[in-house]
């Protein structure tokens, strides 16, 4: 708490604006939030996210938090998890949720792909580019509660049914013994939007 704190001046914000598409005032707001969450530190760790009560209510909070620490979401073509993130990385992940501005049709497609990629990465926890049955089942488990009405088997059934549907749409021919590897990103897109 010295007399004058350092804060990113205009040039750094401009740089971030180019990369993420947020406006300067939005970046400033996010920076204040970043500092509040991280108690004025340089980086955020998973614990800092755990201290938000609203987030603690969310059934898939661990997936959401992991998404912030996943290099695939930093748009730098990296892979694997990190332990702490700086403000730039925080902004990168947030930019996935940016409301789309009125743009050309092609850009809108690529924006949509990016957002779906984010969701895909959230399901695909082992970074291998496919969502396997186990991973999908895990997500559904998180969403559902362990009440008696909806037993553990029901969750399994939902996951299995979903995977079967996807398999039947994406692989026209499947031998009875053939093992379905998992949903790739292309299948994911096709299932959700029935398009290329």
């Amino acid at each position: 708490m010295g007399a004058f704190q350092s804060s990113p001046g205009q040039p750094e914000y401009v740089d971030l604006k180019e990369k993420t598409g947020f406006s300067i005032s939005q970046i400033r707001v996010l920076h204040t939030r970043f500092k509040l969450l991280g108690h004025n530190g340089e980086t955020l760790k998973r614990d800092h996210f755990n201290s938000i009560p609203d987030l603690a209510c969310n059934p898939i909070r661990s997936q959401i938090i992991e998404a912030f620490f996943d290099r695939r979401n930093f748009r730098q073509n990296g892979e694997g998890p990190v332990d702490e993130i700086h403000f730039e990385e925080f902004l990168m992940v947030m930019s996935h949720f940016k409301a789309p501005s009125p743009r050309m049709i092609e850009e809108r497609e690529s924006v949509r792909r990016e957002k779906l990629r984010f969701i895909f990465n959230m399901h695909d926890t082992d970074d291998d580019g496919t969502i396997t049955l186990e991973e999908y089942r895990h997500v559904i488990d998180e969403l559902l509660s362990l009440t008696e009405d909806l037993g553990k088997d029901t969750a399994k059934d939902i996951a299995d049914a979903a995977m079967r549907e996807v398999a039947s749409t994406s692989m026209a021919h499947m031998e009875p013994d053939e093992f379905f590897e998992g949903i790739t990103f292309e299948h994911f897109l096709k299932v959700l939007f029935g398009g290329p």
Binding site: A3, S7, S25, Q26, V29, L37, L55, A99, L143, L150
Partner: protein
Amino acid sequence: MISIYCWRIFVMCCGEQTWATSRMEMGAKEKNQQLYKPCNGIIAKKPPTSLQQDLKELRGSASCPRSEPQFEMADIFFFCRRGVESILDDEVTKRFSSQELDSWNLLTRSNYNVRHISLRLTVIWGLGVLVRYGVLLPLRVTLAVTGIGLLVVLTTLLGFLPNRELRFSLSEKIHLMCHRICVRALTAIITYHNRENKPKNGGICVSNHTTPIDVIILANDGCYSMVGQVHGGLMGMIQRAMVKSSPHIWFERSEVKDRHLVAKRLSDHVADKTKQPILIFPEGTCINNTSVMMFKKGSFEIACTVYPVAIKYDPRFGDAFWNSSKFGMVYYLLRMMSSWAVVCSVWYLPPMNREEGEDAVQFANRVKAAIAAQGGLVDLIWDGGLKRAKVKDAFKEEQQNLYSKVLLGEQDERDLGDDQH
């Protein structure tokens, strides 16, 4: 006299302040609005609706006719968006740090984004520092020392008086006098509203909690019995002295855990109509004066009249919030004494009683709502203890439950559909 002096200086600086404000925060209005409202433009946030409604909307908008795998995947979007919304802005974490101001009050501590704007502003700020640390602070510290010293000495002396009646009336006067000195030491400019509702003997006074100074501010206007844990050091000495002349309730640390013992001591005190009203802060911790958090129900279980009091500090003159994780008591007091002043309003609300068929929790919420409404604070259901503790898993399970119910509803429809194939 000192307060008038401070006021004059502040008015002088006010002219410069407005100019500084507009220079310093071009677009600040926009920024500050975004701080308190959902951040428009960063993500598209909708007004809060129920889980069912949102999910229906989401599923209805999906284009693919296939219903099964799709609705699970699309549901993720909903929870994901909700999660990121709370990361972006939530009601609770921002209550545990100081409020941000619309315009700068020439205290670097209340400005997170200090940059060099102009020479003129820096000069004024420098003058302000000189005045605050060179003139105001020494005066205030002297007063504070005098006040506390007098309190300790006089109350101890009073303890030797045999006559109970005399001791009681003298103790009231001494307490009032010493608290008034302490209030001057902080240059607290207090406005009391609705004094006809002041707490009477045999009742409990409850108030929202921002800082330990709340105690001095309330005790300035009337005599209360304090409730609290026994401390060591300077605080302990003050506590021991105070209890010699009037009935305060200090607990040993071990006793605090035993709720029945606590409740009994409070009830006994309240039943004795000659004793002063008890002062309790049901939030249990300091909140930053923009909201009122959950009131713990213990004090509302005792059968007696409750006198609610709302305290609101004016943040422009100094930030009164004690962030106990950031700095300790002595540093906090020095900060308070080197701010411009502590300006606050105290509202005495009409007394409330527990109604028929109302349990302690509902009564507590009713009182809390009244205090929040009067003080212009946000009424939150969250527990102030979240400052240090984590949220219970029960909340997460509730959300899971809700979602399961929605799925079950869909499940029944789907089963019917399957049968038809």
